[in-house]
């Protein structure tokens, strides 16, 4: 019988090997797939047991923290946002059922302490409990507060402020906002989700599809100077209106400006001048410059990707972005109309690049990651995204933009004792459903930077559905936010 006993043992060995194989499959080989299963709530519950790292403003103000609820194995951490609606955008939220959004989503790995697999294995072996790291952002609560309250007074819209030489985002405000603390409350969440007109959960700074209007003339001018098609001295005859692709393209009040150069054209936002410049440039040059400023791509910012809109020219019917080979009405694109759509973040990036002598820095909200024991584990190093224009071109653009504020269309942005460079924008959106379909509705803009001779901050402010002009409604917001930041330094 011994032979059979040995064979029987062999059979048992095979059975146990099958058990090892299946256990390996579930625990290692198929683990990733299993963790992603909808029925699997375990990863969520586990994340709740990890105290998520805090998110701080640049001055140390706590924007988000985790509060322990319950005790023992039932202990879990719930996110709390002490600043309420102020930083609903761009920080977003993080809750068990609702998941994460915006900054909370993008930086989930650091906030949960899951940065490196190696680290967590080491922690397991040493019995170290996983704990989230905290992130200090570049956000300036005082300036954010100014931006939020002024937007609330002005209407729906957004403000973005970028430090030009580092790319640090100091302000990102979107009105209407929401209080992230109300996300876990079902009746409030339902209201936030279904409010399509106000869309409070949409970060307008990164996701709004606004026609940029005349602010885009800075991009057109940059393309003209950089390509050598014009110099600051080149004059173009700017009549009251031109016929473009069979449609009339007119100046404000049909004013005939005669032969003028860039400074006068930008200062007074002369449509026929820039329309002709656009035609002279051709689509290729204009699109190349746009792309260098960040158009036609996801903005390189630390926010969750699905909440970022790629600025560019769109086919409204298919929702597809148009390329440099698609037919577009170039003169109207050159003045920021046609089917050109841009986010306030994109326009702020244009201002920041000009302010930083032609170098566009990657815009970043985070500044550094701080360990639980207080030491900095990671620091954001300023990174050049692109160099759209030369130092010379940047200086020439700055001069022209200073004229806008000192004697042109953007005088409301002036700050006493500080030179300001900027550009207004008033894109007409007649019949826009989001604005109630009124014929006099505008998208009002102001973008620029201060001080013009030594830029500290570049800002874009945009207000939707207003009957006023950029100088009336957006320039004052620009000015007050700029002052708040300059005074804070």
């Amino acid at each position: 019988m011994n032979r059979q006993i040995i064979k029987l043992f062999g059979f048992i060995v095979v059975l146990f090997a099958i058990l090892v194989a299946f256990t390996s499959y579930w625990s290692v080989f198929d683990a990733k797939n299993l963790k992603a299963q909808k029925a699997n709530k375990r990863p969520l519950y586990e994340q709740q047991q990890i105290p998520r790292g805090r998110i701080l403003a640049a001055d140390g103000t706590v924007i988000a923290k985790s509060v322990a609820e319950g005790r023992g194995t039932g202990k879990r951490y719930v996110r709390h946002y002490p600043m309420g609606a102020l930083f609903g955008h761009p920080i977003g939220y993080s809750f068990e059922e609702e998941g994460q959004s915006e900054f909370e989503k993008f930086h989930n790995a650091e906030l949960t302490g899951e940065e490196s697999e190696f680290g967590s294995i080491l922690d397991q072996l040493t019995g170290q409990k996983q704990e989230g790291e905290q992130i200090v952002t570049n956000l300036d609560p005082k300036a954010q507060e100014v931006a939020m309250s002024e937007l609330e007074a002005a209407g729906h819209g957004a403000v973005v402020a970028i430090e030009p030489n580092t790319g640090a985002i100091k302000v990102m405000a979107s009105n209407p906002g929401y209080n992230p603390n109300s996300i876990p409350l079902p009746h409030k969440l339902a209201k936030l989700n279904t409010d399509e007109v106000n869309a409070p959960l949409v970060n307008r700074a990164t996701f709004a599809r606004y026609p940029p209007g005349s602010t885009f003339k800075v991009v057109t001018a940059a393309a003209g100077l950089e390509s050598g098609v014009i110099t600051p001295e080149t004059t173009i005859n700017a009549p009251g209106s031109i016929i473009d692709e069979g449609h009339e393209l007119a100046n404000d009040g049909n004013q005939d400006w005669g032969d003028i150069s860039l400074d006068t054209a930008l200062t007074n936002s002369v449509n026929t001048w820039f329309g002709q410049l656009g035609q002279k440039l051709g689509q290729d040059r204009l699109f190349t410059m746009m792309e260098k400023f960040g158009f036609n791509a996801k903005p390189p910012i630390d926010l969750s990707e699905e909440e970022l809109f790629e600025s560019g020219v769109y086919d409204y019917e298919t929702g597809k972005m148009l390329t440099r080979r698609d037919p577009v009405d170039l003169a109207r694109v050159a003045i920021g109309q046609e089917r050109l759509l841009a986010t306030p973040l994109q326009i702020a990036m244009v201002a920041a690049a000009v302010a930083n002598h032609g170098k566009l820095m990657k815009p970043q909200i985070w500044n550094r990651v701080v360990n639980t024991d207080g030491s900095v584990t990671k620091r954001q190093e300023p990174e050049v995204y692109s160099e759209p224009v030369s130092t010379k071109t940047a200086a020439e653009l700055t001069t022209a933009m200073e004229g806008v504020v000192s004697e042109g269309t953007g005088t409301n942005a002036a700050i006493s004792g500080v030179p300001v460079a900027g550009k207004t924008g008033t894109a007409e959106v007649p019949g826009n459903k989001a604005c109630g379909g009124g014929e006099e509705e505008n998208q009002a803009w102001f973008m620029g930077f201060v001080p013009a001779d030594n830029p500290k901050i570049a800002i874009a402010a945009s207000v939707e559905c207003t009957e006023q002009f950029g100088n009336d409604v957006a320039a004052p917001i620009f000015r007050d936010v700029a002052e708040a930041i300059l005074n804070g330094e």
Binding site: M1, N2, R3, Q4, I5, I6, K7, L8, F9, I12, V13, L15, F16, I18, L19, V20, F22, T23, S24, W26, S27, V28, D30, A31, L34, K35, Q37, A39, N40, K41, R42, P43, Y45, E46, Q48, Q49, E69, G70, T73, G74, K75, R76, I121, Q124, L125, G127
Partner: protein, 443 residues
């Protein structure tokens, strides 16, 4: 002479240390009372093992030296695991461990001449079958998850299948010892298939069929699988006819198909096994959570006491029946693939020692008894681990010596006692000059 026992003692020391370390780890997780409680528990455990060891030294000096330490290792592991799930359950478990050792000692005391079992084989088989019926008796029977597994008489509560499996193995070993020659010689080839002679096969079929019927009657699928596998294993070892196993498998397939289509309870279990995602929150919940818990363990696991058993902030189970059915999933979750492989390895080592005893044993009954007990033990581990890893449908049998449950611990200690009884004699006879030849001559 007692070098075997010295090895046993040496092996028990690290086991006790491991238990101490395990408790220390659990306490460290809870963060509260580290102190010296883990050392006290470790000392208690070692003391109990030491008493058992001394008893073995006196009664069975030549028995296998590794079996008891391996079992003690599983028990220690189980105690820490169950403690980590629920302290009060661990207290029960510790009591059963001691009760199990008492029954272990009594078995060794009174069944020194275990051939006596052969004389009562029909009585033993009858008792084994009758107690299987008990869970369906009104008043004392208990139903859990659609299966009638437990009996409750006053404060006493037990699962008859755990004891029944020993009774059936004793019967089969004895019957096959007597009839194996006839079964081999009398086999007929019918249509190219070798069939056993019905006359001698009959009584065994009756006992086996009755046990199968009982198990379906009480809906204990896990045990029926276990019994069936043990039956085939013994039949194969006794006759050496692989064709009998094939016939058995064919019968099983037909039977399984029949039950899967006609008995709703069985049908449901198979459906859950094949399509767990069909109803992830109800019928598929246990198996899915079992798999998810394993996925979360990875290579190294989350660490003792780190895994989630209930949904945080509630008392709802995230891993249902963590202390019994799905304890293996919790082990994978907390100790990872490596920890789980260690557990499987311990079971494999126990199986190896058990079959070694069977190889050494000189007479047919001892051989078959050791084979049957070892096989039923190993298959029990396979049925439950295979169940929670979706190798086979999940059924409620315990993971021997680890799962929470008195019947399982006590019955398996009786099983261990029988193995050691066989071992002691076999090793002594093998060691005595001439003894071996004599024993072989008489077989």
């Amino acid at each position: 002479m007692s070098s075997a026992r010295n090895r046993e003692l040496t092996a028990l020391v690290p086991v006790a240390l491991l238990l101490t370390a395990g408790f220390a780890a659990v306490f460290a997780q809870e963060g509260s009372r580290l102190g010296n409680l883990s050392v006290i528990y470790g000392a208690y455990f070692f003391a109990v093992c030491l008493v058992t060891h001394i008893y073995l030294r006196i009664r069975l000096p030549d028995a296998d030296p590794y079996l008891f330490p391996l079992v003690a290792l599983l028990t220690a592991f189980g105690l820490v695991m169950v403690y980590r799930i629920d302290e009060s359950l661990a207290r029960d478990q510790a009591n059963w461990f001691v009760l199990g050792l008492v029954l272990f000692a009594l078995t060794i005391q009174f069944l020194r001449d275990y051939e006596i079992l052969e004389r009562y084989r029909y009585t033993i088989a009858a008792i084994g079958l009758l107690i299987l019926l008990a869970p369906r008796l009104p008043g004392i029977g208990q139903q859990v998850n659609g299966a009638y597994l437990g009996v409750k008489i006053g404060p006493l509560q037990f699962q008859p299948a755990e004891f029944s499996k020993i009774a059936i193995v004793i019967f089969l070993a004895s019957y096959l010892r007597e009839n194996r020659e006839v079964l081999i010689v009398g086999a007929r080839r019918v249509l190219g298939v070798t069939l056993p002679p019905l006359k001698h096969f009959g009584p065994m079929l009756v006992v086996w069929g009755a046990s199968m019927f009982m198990l379906v009657f009480i809906r204990d699928l896990g045990s029926s699988l276990m019994f069936f596998a043990a039956f085939l294993a013994l039949l194969y070892v006794a006759t050496g006819r692989f064709s009998f196993v094939v016939i058995g498998m064919a019968m099983f397939t037909v039977g399984a198909w029949f039950f899967a289509t006609t008995v709703p309870h069985v049908h449901q279990r198979v459906e859950i096994w094949l399509h767990p995602y069909h109803d992830p929150l109800n019928s598929g919940y246990q198996i899915l959570q079992s798999i998810f818990a394993q996925a979360d363990g990875g290579l190294f696991g989350k660490g003792f006491g780190q895994g989630l058993i209930t949904i945080p902030g509630t008392h709802r189970a995230l891993l249902p029946a963590a202390q019994t059915d799905t304890i293996y999933s919790l082990i994978v979750n907390e100790l990872g693939l490596f920890g789980a492989c260690a557990v499987i390895l311990i079971y494999l080592l126990i199986a190896a020692r058990g079959f070694k005893i069977a190889l050494l044993a000189s007479d047919g009954f001892s051989k078959l008894l050791a084979t049957g007990l070892t096989a039923v033990f190993a298959i029990q581990a396979f049925v439950i681990i295979g169940g929670v890893t979706r190798v086979i449908p999940l059924t409620g049998v315990t993971l021997p010596f680890i799962s929470y449950g008195g019947s399982s611990i006590v019955a398996n200690f009786v099983l261990l006692a029988l193995l050691l009884l066989v071992s002691d004699r076999a090793r002594r006879e093998a060691a005595e000059p001439g003894g071996r030849a004599l024993a072989l001559g008489s077989a």
